[in-house]
């Protein structure tokens, strides 16, 4: 009996220690998990001693980046590691990875606000090929004359619609419009949407709009992308590129469009708090709704859901502002490449060489434009249609610009903080859930106007004045980015 006890004790002790060592060994390995090269220890490096570590923001393109990195390593022998943060966890990943000894040499920021936090980590890209090949300075984040970040993808959003369903509606008796060209103001859009909603059973759909989900997988469509429109028109009216205190001049328009979304959708406004992005995508993909506010990045999902290129169209988001007949889609970028200034010189050079290869080599350009489907702001992609993505929504966006419509710029990178967006989102939800009353709209106003000031002051509480100016400069650049796309497309 005593021996048995001893034996068990020994076995347990042994298994415990094995667990411990195994645990150590495993974690050592997993840190190399994302390496795309066969080198396991990470100490062997290429001839010039530099290596590249890209912390990618877009999970949709994770595999494509890895494949591209592998090609590069095969051709040049330079180690390129690509890690992708899971959706919505980029900030966590970036924070922990950047504190490590082998920190990413290439990472992303989404605009001036994040740049304020990460500016010290951004290498001046002034002489780099990615900057010199940019079509315009508007696509770069420039602070005090230093090029801190370079946009690598231009995206467009609006109201995607199901052409087949909409045409079906146009043929019904008493349709408020006979062709999509007639929808060029908010008033007309409202008429059509409300009529579709009334005829939803005849059309075999569940609602005019997809559910305006306020789950975190979908709420950015309204608290950020839709909020861009009142901000855009206010900036435009005041002729500014950013502000420390927003006035909310166009908030009534914001309310109009939000009302239209929630009252003419596939679900009751009370249900939106738990509707997800997948719900809306599924409703649109299955033809249960005609309109769906989203962007060019959603193209592949639409096709995967069974829609064809002929089914897809995109309208500008009309909010009832003056002169909106000439308003185009919302075009801009919130994806900027930054090279880690705190990496070793060799790694920085290796990273710059990699980026140069990505935007100049045939493999790199094909991968970015065809495999990843990016519209890029680089001159090197201008060789006919060869490096243009096969994306119907992008084509529609280009057509809008070609027809002389003014693209709406992305001003939401100038929003002072995520907290502001959360506040507006919560107020929008509160408003929708409680019968869309005037009183509840006051809550949205407070979150929008007062929240902006509070968050702006909190974010700038100890910044030097110079830093604030620089941020403003970056914002101004952002502002005219969309116009630049015009020129690029023409």
């Amino acid at each position: 009996m005593k021996n048995l006890k001893k034996g068990i004790a020994l076995a347990m002790a042994a298994s415990l220690s094995v667990c411990m060592f195994a645990g150590c060994g495993e974690s050592g390995e997993s840190s190399e998990g994302g390496t795309t090269t066969p080198k396991a220890d990470g100490t062997t490096t290429s001839a010039d001693g530099g290596k590249v570590y890209y912390l990618n923001f877009k999970p949709e393109q994770a595999d494509q980046w890895k494949a591209l990195a592998e090609t590069y390593t095969k051709q040049t022998g330079v180690e390129v590691k690509v890690e992708t943060a899971a959706s919505g966890t980029y900030e966590e990943q970036r924070k922990s990875e950047m504190s490590k000894e082998n920190a990413p040499t290439l990472f992303q920021v989404n605009g001036p606000v994040e740049l304020a936090a990460w500016g010290d980590y951004c290498y001046n890209l002034k002489d780099s090929s990615v900057y010199t090949n940019l079509k315009s300075d508007d696509f770069a984040l420039i602070e005090n004359g230093e090029v801190k970040g370079v946009a690598y993808v231009i995206e467009t959003y609006g109201i995607i619609y199901n052409k087949t369903l909409l045409n079906k509606y146009f043929e019904t008796d008493g349709a408020k419009a006979k062709s999509v060209d007639e929808i060029n103001t908010f008033a007309k859009l409202k008429e059509v949407v409300e009529d579709i909603q009334a005829k939803k059973d005849d059309l075999g759909i569940k609602g005019a709009f997809t559910s305006a989900g306020m789950d975190s997988s979908s709420d950015w469509r309204f608290k950020t992308h839709l909020a861009n429109l009142p901000i855009y028109y206010e900036y435009k009216a005041d002729n500014i590129g950013s502000t420390s205190a927003i006035k909310g001049t166009y908030l009534d328009n914001y309310r109009q469009i939000w009302d239209l979304y929630i009252n003419n959708s596939t679900c009751d406004p009370k249900m939106i708090s738990s509707k997800t992005g997948e719900d809306a995508a599924a409703e649109f993909g299955l033809g249960e709704a005609v309109f769906y506010q989203n962007g060019t990045w959603e193209y592949q999902n639409c096709i995967d859901a069974g829609l064809t290129d002929d089914d897809l169209g995109m309208l500008p988001i009309y909010i009832g502002a003056d002169g909106e007949e000439n308003q185009g889609l919302c075009t801009g970028s919130e994806n900027y490449w930054c090279v880690n200034a705190k990496a070793s010189e060799a790694d920085i050079q290796a990273t710059l060489a990699f980026l140069d290869w990505v935007i100049t080599s045939d493999e790199g350009r094909t991968a970015m434009s065809q495999d990843m489907g990016f519209v890029t702001p680089f001159k090197t992609f201008d060789e006919g249609d060869k490096y243009q993505p096969n994306n119907t929504l992008v084509k529609i966006a280009n057509e809008y610009i070609a027809s002389g419509k003014t693209a709406v710029s992305w001003n939401f990178p100038t929003i002072p903080s995520e907290k502001w967006k959360d506040g507006v989102g919560a107020a929008l939800l509160d408003y929708a859930q409680n019968g869309s009353s005037d009183e509840k709209w006051e809550g949205v106003k407070t979150a929008f106007v007062d929240g902006w000031k509070t968050e702006y002051d909190a974010a700038h509480k100890d910044d030097a004045a110079a830093e604030g100016d620089a941020a403003a400069e970056g914002d101004a650049a952002e502002e005219s980015a969309a116009e630049e796309v015009d020129n690029a497309a023409q």
């Binding site: 411990m20 010290d120 009370k270 506040g423 509160d430 509070t454």
Partner: protein, 285 residues
């Protein structure tokens, strides 16, 4: 081997755990306290700023009173869940020590939910509760009240089984002769429970209240999965609020860290107070 023979090896045996404790707890804790006095983006570039972060935690203009709200919300949640979990856990333990047929099966069934991870449980209950609320055209994130009770139901479902096991062990340790003696003296069932069993299982109660109290205060996964703090950040418990401050707001890493320090002080103080309070009620056999 006698105790004397073992003594020289004490350090050797304690070393691995000690090192693990040092790396996994003491160092990060120290670093965390230091960082709460700094402004930083990554932990390598911290610049000391004194007490600014702590002032920001309680400044309504900066934090929108969210930390205070989360504190009250968590306190309320802790009170309700400590009471309900322990009450139901104890009741079930009493039932399952009466020698009902299939006692072991029931014990296993009640314990099972505890084996499922918090995130998974959160999503499962989100589906269930939303499914029920959908009948009334409502959802779990309609208001923080639904989120609160949803979380209470979830935590009860998960933890009752675990506390039940501890209570069963305690109840089984009550000497039968004490109960028999009480009965011979003419004590009713209620009196036996109140004057014999309860005092005798006081050590179990200490453990269970300690576990449920600290668990409720530190709750994170379930909160994240069930409501993620929605609507707004009104159903955020403290841990989630700290997480969202740290990662969700540019330039607020230090404030998040300061909140974390305040948080650990609160939890530590509560745990000690609770242990002291229930210990005094324990009786020696």
């Amino acid at each position: 081997m006698s105790k004397k023979e073992l003594r020289p090896y004490f350090l050797l045996f304690a070393l691995p755990t000690f090192i693990a404790f040092l790396i996994g707890f003491v160092v990060p804790f120290g670093l965390g306290i230091y960082l709460s006095f700094c402004k930083f983006t990554t932990v390598n570039d911290a610049v000391p700023v004194g007490f600014a972060n702590y002032l920001a935690v309680f400044d309504k203009n900066i934090d929108n009173g969210e930390f205070i709200h989360a504190l009250w919300y968590t306190t309320l949640f802790a009170i309700v869940s400590v009471i309900t979990i322990n009450f139901f856990g104890f009741c079930i333990a009493m039932l399952l020590t009466k020698g009902i047929r299939g006692t072991n099966v029931f014990r296993t069934v009640f314990f099972m939910p505890n084996l499922i991870g918090g995130i998974v449980l959160g999503y499962i209950w989100q589906l269930i509760l939303n499914g029920i609320l959908a009948r009334f055209d409502l959802t779990l994130t309609f208001s923080e009240v639904y989120g609160f009770w949803g979380l209470i139901i979830l935590m009860n479902w998960q933890q009752i089984g675990y506390m039940m096991i501890i209570y069963i062990a305690g109840i089984q340790n009550v000497p039968p002769e004490l109960i028999e003696a009480a009965k011979i003296d003419g004590a009713t069932g209620r009196q036996v429970l109140g004057h014999v069993i309860l005092p005798m299982v006081m050590p179990s109660i200490t453990i269970c209240t300690f576990l449920t109290l600290t668990n409720s205060f530190k709750l994170f996964d379930q909160n994240l999965a069930l409501t993620n703090g929605l609507p707004g950040s009104k159903s955020e418990l403290l841990a989630l609020n700290i997480y969202n401050t740290f990662y969700g707001r540019v330039g607020f890493e230090g404030v998040g860290q300061a909140k974390a320090v305040v948080f650990s002080l609160i939890v530590g103080a509560l745990a000690i107070a609770q242990l002291a309070a229930t210990h005094t009620k324990e009786v020696q056999q």
